[in-house]
């Protein structure tokens, strides 16, 4: 993938983000859009971890939870600005990922899955049980970062939906840009090499443990920022954000859209975020449809939606 393809992918993403609002009949669509971008940001992190480096995690919602609660707790107890709290959350997640990544990433396959699962559940248990600090299962409110007021002073009046559509879109574009750059960098190549074969990668001089840890920490940062953005735009947060289902959702979105592709992951996030909204009329069958879609994609398009479709269009080139 040359740098031209990188810019084409980014341009497609940016164009979609800018053009879509012209078709929005109401500002509710900005809300759905913002949710897609926030989810997609976490999924791009999963693309780096699963798609590039070939490692699995079933506990990344734990990092999203740390990011989210950093934005709720730091302004209240430390008097920090919510924007800085986002950075604090990311740093905490990064350091934690570094610490637990070292022992955990020695494991492979199912064992790695179960270990990360344990981490995610631990975070959500702490958030649920430390009631005095986090408000427990009832959740806690998140201070308004004051972005809207700031823009209003600059003469730019935005609705809540429009503001967070914009902020989440910018975050996603930056995230996608970093991930696409990483793909062709020496680090990205090393990660992909160990995805192909750990033994082969280490024979050609790739520090396997180090590269795995890198992918793990980077994807944790993505999840953490995604959690922070979710907390800031919702203005309220419960331990659900760190829950097991959220972890599974992240992996599912990545796998559905195409786990090796940044745009694919974004597509997966878009589909799984909008599906429940589209299926409200058949709310009882929502899980059924979701399951059926997943099974069909796995059988007929095993590389995920986007890469499989792209391959079909390109035909012989690949």
């Amino acid at each position: 993938m040359g740098s031209r393809r990188k810019w084409i992918q980014l341009a497609v993403l940016a164009a979609l983000i800018i053009v879509l609002p012209f078709f929005f009949p109401s500002s509710y669509y900005y809300r759905v859009g913002a949710l897609i971008f926030v989810n997609a940001l976490a999924v791009v992190g999963m693309v780096i971890l699963i798609g590039y480096a070939g490692q699995i995690s079933l506990g990344h919602a734990g990092f999203a939870g740390i990011g989210a609660y950093a934005c709720a707790l730091a302004p209240e107890y430390l008097g920090l600005h919510p924007g800085l709290a986002l950075i604090l959350g990311a740093v905490t997640s990064g350091v934690l990922a570094l610490l637990i990544g070292r022992p955990i990433l020695r494991l492979k396959g199912y064992y790695l899955g179960v270990a990360t699962l344990g981490f995610g559940i631990l975070v959500s248990m702490v958030l649920t049980n430390e009631r005095a600090l986090t408000g427990g299962p009832d959740g806690m409110s998140v201070a308004d970062p004051g972005l809207r007021g700031m823009l209003r002073d600059l003469g730019w009046r935005l609705s809540v939906g429009e503001l967070w559509y914009g902020v989440s879109a910018i975050a996603l574009l930056i995230g996608a840009w970093v991930a696409l750059n990483l793909f062709d960098s020496p680090t990205g190549r090393a990660m992909r090499a160990l995805h192909g074969s750990e033994v082969a990668a280490s024979t050609v001089g790739v520090d396997v443990a180090r590269q795995k840890l890198r992918a793990f920490v980077i994807s944790a940062l993505y999840a953490s920022v995604s959690g922070s953005l979710l907390a800031l735009q919702n203005g309220f947060i419960t331990p659900d954000v760190a829950g097991f289902m959220h972890s599974i959702e992240m992996v599912t979105m990545a796998v559905l859209g195409g786990v090796g592709s940044v745009l694919g992951g974004t597509l997966g996030a878009a589909i799984l975020t909008t599906l429940p909204q589209v299926l409200t009329i058949f709310a009882e069958y929502e899980q059924l449809v979701l399951g059926a879609v997943m099974i069909l994609v796995m059988i007929f398009l095993p590389q995920g939606l986007l890469p499989s479709i792209a391959r079909r269009f390109r035909g012989r080139d690949e």
Partner: protein
């Protein structure tokens, strides 16, 4: 482009107009009909649908039919916020009912406040209406009121030293905190404070610890679901001689079935009139409303309505009453009418809202009940 698409929507709506015989009142609802809070949301959803059908069948409000849009947020606050936004922006509702849990309510509440849409919540926490928010009302009692009711009953029986055992789920944790806060004012001393996980299968160790604390005169269990049932059974097995109080969270016939009449004998809890609808005397102010509702629910779903379903029933009727009195479908007019509600008799109690009180219930709404021979007896 944006302009043309919204014009197209208006044109479509105008085209659809001739088919709608009358103007309609758009009512929105988002409840947790599935997911971990389905025990709350499922009967609530059923009740909201049923009550709206009832109102429409009897001619609607001021001659206008209610068009209900009901979403299932699955107990996820994030989804609840999205659905609330959708209700307001896309479905253009004039009022919202819902928020089965405190988490989902807090998410919906923000949108309702922002957009100026009256919202009646179905969740328990006191933080929903304290501080008072202009557009936010709620029908269930707060957990604090349940604690106060129980403590009042204890005081009347000269009980002052109690053991508290609570679930760590949302309901139990919230009630534990509230009870500890009001215990002092009620002259109650909590001498033992134990907790259990919502999935635990045996609470004997916690109960034994409470028993080994000297001079405990009663035990209070704050919790919901299977936890309190296990506590009650363990309590009977351990042969406690002091009374056991449960919370309004288990005020349902299913609780007695789950525990068994023998172990449940003598358990006291605060419940609503709905639970003893069949026992109320005809001159009881809540006789009519609880009997009517219970009969309707039984006929439609062949099931007993739960206390939580009662919250939804009251919310729909309160909203309908406010819209009727407002004589308009302007959200601000409905809000003003809602706040002026006075002496409205529901299944949960008699509501009187004011600018300072958006719950409008007092302790008299709770009835202290005792389980005797597998059935409820009213104590006060």
């Amino acid at each position: 482009m944006k302009f043309t698409s919204s014009t197209a929507v208006i044109a479509l709506m105008a085209a659809a107009m001739p088919f709608a015989a009358q103007a309609e009142i758009r009512l929105g609802a988002s409840v947790s009909a599935t997911g971990p809070a389905a025990f709350l949301g499922d009967p609530e959803a059923k009740t909201i649908e049923m009550m709206v059908e009832e109102i429409n069948a009897s001619g609607g409000i001021n001659g206008e039919q209610i068009a209900l849009t009901l979403y299932d947020d699955g107990g996820d606050p994030n989804k609840a916020r999205t659905f609330a936004t959708r209700l307001v922006e896309d479905d253009e509702v004039v009022a919202i009912i819902g928020g089965s849990t405190t988490g989902t309510t807090m998410s919906i509440l923000d949108v309702a406040q922002e957009e100026g849409i009256p919202f009646i919540s179905l969740a328990g926490a006191i933080s929903i209406i304290d501080p008072v928010r202009e557009y936010v009302f709620k029908t269930p009692h707060t957990d604090r009121m349940a604690c106060e009711k129980i403590f009042a009953d204890m005081q009347a029986r000269d009980i002052s030293r109690i053991g508290l055992i609570s679930g760590t789920d949302g309901f139990g944790a919230s009630m534990q905190a509230e009870c500890k806060e009001v215990a002092g004012d009620s002259g109650i001393e909590i001498v033992a404070d134990e907790t259990y996980g919502p999935q635990d299968a045996d609470m004997t160790p916690q109960l034994t610890r409470i028993r080994n604390t000297g001079d405990v005169q009663a035990v209070l269990n704050a919790g919901f679901g299977q936890g309190p049932a296990i506590v009650t059974r363990n309590y009977a097995q351990l042969g406690f001689e002091i009374p056991l109080y449960q919370s309004h969270g288990v005020a349902s016939n299913a609780f007695i079935d789950l525990v068994g009449a023998e172990a449940a004998e003598g358990v006291r809890l605060p419940g609503t009139a709905l639970l003893i609808a069949d026992q109320l005397s005809e001159d009881d102010p809540q006789y009519q409303v609880t009997t009517d509702y219970t009969a309707l629910y039984r006929a439609k779903y062949s099931d007993e309505p739960s206390t939580f379903a009662g919250y939804a029933h009251d919310a729909v009727l309160l909203m309908a009453d406010a819209i009727a009195r407002a004589g308009s479908t302007d959200p601000d007019d409905i809000r003003d009418a809602l706040e002026a509600t006075s002496g409205f008799v529901g299944t949960t109690g008699t509501y009187t809202f004011s600018p300072e009180d958006h719950l409008g219930l007092d302790l008299s709404a709770f009835r202290m009940l005792e389980i005797n021979d597998g059935d409820w007896t009213q104590l006060d």
